[in-house]
Subunit: 469 residues, 4 copies
């Protein structure tokens, strides 16, 4: 149930080079990538001389007024959507970061998470570096600023050769934009073309649709593309090769259904997960009901494969915003009721299959099962279109720590009891890969298996930080 | 496609009596009724001595801060959601209206539209009345204030005996709340009970679900219920009887799917409309795609009856708010693209049935058809789950004038050409009634037939006002 | 000490007729009249067809943005500054009031206070009138709306013939502005000319200076001037004559020193009050110190007549706004310290004459005397440039009730002790009139004498209302 | 005329150590120091573990809400008021700066201006330093962060030994606050004691008055005082000694009259400047009129020494805020009229001495002279209580460049003609020093003489920056 999510993606990025309305286009791209981060948004644009930045807390459409966009002239721009997090997240952490270096102003936006940033930061500070933000992203920028290499691309490569972890970066200086993806390719990054041939880079292809741009290809794992000045465009693979490990969870939950990521349309993959789930975990039931909106594609797939009717037995209140106040003292614990309302006439007296894409803490699902029972369901069978989530992600998804992951603490029968369902079925690891049509090992499935393709150097520090939030 | 709607409902109302958190509960009810009006919201509460009002432009969750709610003490409250309208709509028109009369402060909120308010207002002004707002609602209040009857109920009845049109009213004075519905029962109004037995009145039953209240019954056409002081509760039918004519369009479009209105669950009616549509207007096709979100229930019904697969071939951007700025000069005419994105892999090469609940101006549908074609659809068959909309509504739905209603100007083949579909099928009038399971004549279908159950006295003035908007 | 005042003027008004930038000019006039009311401000302008209103809480410069002013086209405008009051004062009371009557839209702004409004309102309500505000001003408007007279001026005269009290009014309908002053002439109202000869009306002449207008004359007590359409300008005296009783307190405290009111420059009158005070209440002292800013002119007069040096022994913090928060728990009772700081080197070891224009509750003066003593003053002699304030005003100044007026409860020696001064001297009633150069009886001095020139019909109700604030 | 000033002070600073309400007290101190900077304000507080920062654009009372102050717990805090500047001044430059270093978080606020910051910054960037702000203050922080010295005080001394220019600093880390003043002592900095003995540091002593603190002594030129942890308090003079050169302009214009700076009460000095001016530049006249509020003390001194009457011939509009909009197209060039209005009856027919504290660009004075003439003055004699301002300041006052300083371009007779006065008299350099009771050379008088006590290393860069504003 997106919006009440226990899993939070770290950000979306976008860049445009060589178009007179670069900042406007990046604004639209961020708008289309809003689902990847709702806490804050920022854009840095360059007119060849100066880099200007506008950023703030809130949704893209709230942060950027026409006046603020008009204050971002120039033919190149990069942008960033930041995920929601509790407290502590000062404005100094809103990206793109923009700082002054010996080569002039430098801006950087980052989707992902570094696994050795804490260590790198400590040694930079020992050498006298002053950090302005608490983000791991600033480590990349500081390393690039210290490089003796004469050009931005060279400095950035030098920085990235020290850095380990997940990153899709867009970097800007006065006349040039660089897009880079880590050698594992954990997070998605795509290259598109505007009608005039100008390049646009974005975390997901749905941004291209809104801009009227054509999807060209994914930025490859380990690839670094330099745009400009002029129409110059240079691709290179300057970093040591690694076995690609794109994040399978992008398919399960994060990416927008109308995007194509890692080579396949997300909507189709999700329906496939639901179909596979129906084969593995059938249910004697009367109706398949999705948990809106995240469970919809898998539920359609499930219903189709199971030969059961599909319907919206839970209505979502589309006006739920981040501003809702729970006013009543007498009436507490609205929780999920503010967002979902069961449709009694569809549910009453029926055996319901409730399909969602994942189960993280389990608390929301427990409330939904209760809502559905109160509306008169005879049986409630919960089906989850991925395996149990056992391990936290250190590559850019803000999962809770093990202690909070219900599947890390309980067996499936225990979870079933906790959420109050008549039955509970997860998709198997093999089934998930079959539905995605890849072999186990081609993708990062660490959150389901605990097998981390890249050692998490600063794991203790990262876990601690997560606990504090 | 709700949110881009060409049809705008005039408002939702709610009231609570005898509960210590009356204003908080009305706030929640308005929240659940947000779909009936997004322009403004207001609440008036009474602590037995003073009536206090908080109101403002915007969504319920934006207008009411905890501080503002805390400033509304007392055990009775009424509230109102106002529909969106262009310009002119000053704050003085935001309801509930609250004014001072000889019997003390009087507050009133109104869903509906009077057909003789202009005439009544003119004669009141001739007698020296001073109007503060331009709303027809103030006429009721002024008439009640002039009544020589000693009590609120009597004064209100005297006022309502002069007034003609559609109204669901909630009225408050210091210790008493009155709910009233016009003798035709054009708009819905329901009575529920809080867990402690306190009455709650709301335009739709979905409000009760959020409050944890039980639906008891509809307020009947022509009924007036007086609540308080104490637990007093008196129902009467003081006005001349009329042949009930509830608005069939509430089923087609306005009411929330999880509500029950006029005795039937909306979601079931809408699925039935889609099933009937499939029988009347079948299509040789591969996939049924709803126009989200308004077309979803009918599309599910259509798919089921037609034996065709159903899927979300159009993705809705859930972050579209009212604040989106179209920034780019180079890229114009986003229109529908900001809100909907086709899922190419579902659409490309396929024959698509596009289902929506109604077709008013036709401009949005033309853009959607174009989007779907650009995504590679082989054929696009548009199906509408109601008959052609021919005539404006004067009973509380803000339809455009005849000149703007596409079906009032064109034949179905012409409309098909205008929207660029391969075929276009509307549900028949008979089919609509069959699906709703009522006889033609039991409901108001004036928007489809031009047969107005109640003569529109001030039609010229009302049409002129609508044109000016 | 203006800004901490215990006395609050009820409002300033302004009007312009026949100038293409009427609303802009009224905005400037209100700006110059800001000292007469800081709670709220409003302007109504007419373009000949429609009357538009912009109003809000706060200072003139805060309420009116360029956009709001641009939304007030037309060649005539009226405006109003509202005095500060605690709570209760809803936006519906912000003037000008703008309402709909049989003759079309009618707007009205009022400086003053009616003494029989409560009674009139009660009888209007009995006849069915609905009041929107709680202001006495609406009574005038409702009476005018009921008049059978065909024209605005006639209707207004009919209304004013029923009304008793203090009023300076500016009234607007589509093509016409009317200025009216009650027969007693309690409050000031002046007529000026813009460079092009267009009339401008304002509470004080300082507004003309900012507009580049010439002061022409006072609007006379009992005079009603009709402006427009065209350049028509008609003066009349339609109401029964009364013995003029302009408010002497305008000289003592309210009017701006650079204004000319009731025929004399305010600054000169105030200096004269200080000179007379020095003659009547001399003090053996070393330095004359004004309580800034209200006591400055009288202190200059006092010092000059007494042959003593004058200096700013109290520094005023000019950045004190209405938004200051007293943050500290440890450090309480800042009170006056936030606004005034003594200049130790001027005060220490010296005998100080502290001059202020009036003493209402006495609490502020007690704190100031304490501040001055703490800064090392050897003696503190308080001199007040008017007689003791004994009685509340019912003609437009928001004085406290008798219970709160220190001079109504205590003798001068008791007051001296309460404020902690070594001596306390008030100006005598005769001395005040001598300084103003008028005979006792020419002016209203009710606040000093209790002799009310016009019976206060609704005194009980008005006192009660004041107590509730 | 403060508020329209052509001279802008760079900032005020304050710090408190060892008091449970440190942030609240610093807030009050900043409030009292508001005259030293109105563009922005910030506070950093430490609770021993974390440093938290709240900062924003606007006046102190606008930036800090009770919520923001409540978010700054801890027993030590530093704060900063920033002067107004045009454009470019991003939020990243609002002080205190707060950054992360190897020793933990470090915050710093600075009043003054460095003369070799541009050079230092360039070499730091060459070594890979990344700058977040464009302020010279960050150079100090970066240098301290690089120091190998184990403690804050040592690191700061190392940094300051490289830095040249004017600085009063307050620096905070987790448990410790440091106050430092440059060896020349250009800007003022004082040490006071709260009632409980806790130290408070502020740019001017008027801050102590509001806090109820006692002035103890000036922080000496070259002194560095370390506060904490506990009640530890260590003074040292770690930098090479220099001949003290406090800024004489603090006396002439900047400091608040109720402050004591550099050992003398400001108000007394200013009156003395006016007295000396009357001796040097007498005028045959009828009335001495100050330009409010900056010219008041000197005008009082002038009048006293000249035996002429003193009065407020110009009324200041106290409601002028930064938000005033000049609305009228027809009426342009309000300029000074919005803020000052002549009192005709005091001025008409008289010979006026107009006293102000300084003359920078001359444009405002020209308008004031014109206003006074239009009000009927027979003669206007302008007297300035300091010598002609010839040279820009590079030690913390934001004077215009030479091209804009009227006295750098014109002789006194030319200036007299330009401002339209009948006579113009400046105080002599010797007279100024006599009034201040110091010898020429004891103070920095570079703005009057061009003799800079400390060479301005980066003069070209600093002048260029000033021109761009």
């Amino acid at each position: 149930m997106r919006g009440m999510a226990d899993l939070l993606e770290k950000c979306g990025v976008a860049a445009v080079h060589g178009h007179a309305e670069a900042a406007n286009l990046v604004y639209l791209a961020l708008y289309a990538l809003q689902h990847r981060g709702q806490e804050a948004a920022g854009i840095v644009a360059s007119d060849g001389g100066e880099l200007r930045r506008a950023a703030g807390r809130g949704l893209v459409a709230e942060v950027f007024t026409p006046e603020r966009l008009a204050g971002l002239p120039g033919a190149l721009a990069i942008g960033h959507n930041r995920y929601a997090t509790a407290g502590g997240a000062g404005l100094e952490n809103v990206q793109p970061l923009l700082m002054q270096t010996k080569r002039g102003p430098l801006a950087l936006a980052h989707n992902g998470n570094l696994v050795n940033a804490v260590s790198l930061r400590r040694s930079l500070e020992q050498e006298g570096a002053v950090f302005h933000s608490s983000s791991d992203t600033e480590v990349i920028l500081q390393l690039a600023a210290r490089s003796a290499r004469p050009d931005l691309a060279g400095s950035l490569v030098e920085a990235l050769s020290l850095v380990r972890g997940a990153y899709c970066l867009v970097v800007a200086e006065r006349e040039c934009v660089i897009a880079a993806r880590d050698p594992y390719g954990f997070r998605p990054l795509s290259l598109g073309r505007l009608p005039g041939g100008e390049p646009v880079v974005a975390s997901e292809s749905c941004a291209f649709d809104l801009l009227g741009a054509q999807f060209e290809r994914d930025v490859a794992p380990g690839e670094l593309i330099v745009f400009g000045p002029g129409r110059e465009e240079r691709s290179s693979f300057p970093l040591p090769k690694a076995a690609p490990a794109p994040c399978i969870f992008e398919y399960v939950y994060f990416a927008r259904p109308d995007s194509q990521v890692f080579g396949r349309p997300v909507s189709a993959v999700r329906r496939g997960l639901g179909e596979q789930l129906a084969l593995e975990q059938p249910a004697e039931a009367d109706l398949v009901v999705p948990v809106p909106d995240s469970g919809v594609p898998a539920a359609i797939g499930f219903a189709r494969a199971a030969g059961l009717p599909f319907d919206f037995g839970l209505t979502r209140n589309h006006y739920v915003g981040r501003t809702f106040i729970e006013p009543a003292q007498a009436i507490r614990h609205f929780g999920v009721k503010v967002k979902l309302n069961p449709v009694r006439e569809l549910i009453a007296g029926r055996r319901i299959v409730l399909v969602d894409d994942s189960l993280v803490r389990g608390t929301t699902m427990a409330k939904i099962v209760q809502l559905v029972r109160q509306a008169g369901a005879r049986e409630v069978h919960v089906r989850i279109s991925c395996p149990p989530t056992l391990s936290p992600c250190f590559y850019g998804i803000d999962t809770p720590t093990e202690e909070e992951l219900i599947a890390a603490r309980m067996s499936v029968p225990e979870i079933r009891m906790t959420i109050g369902a008549d039955s509970l079925g997860y998709l198997s690891l093999q089934g998930m890969h079959r539905a995605v049509r890849v072999s186990v090992g081609d993708f990062c499935s660490a959150c389901f298996t605990g097998d981390y393709p890249l050692a998490v150097t600063d794991r203790a520090a990262l876990s601690e930080e997560r606990r504090r939030r």
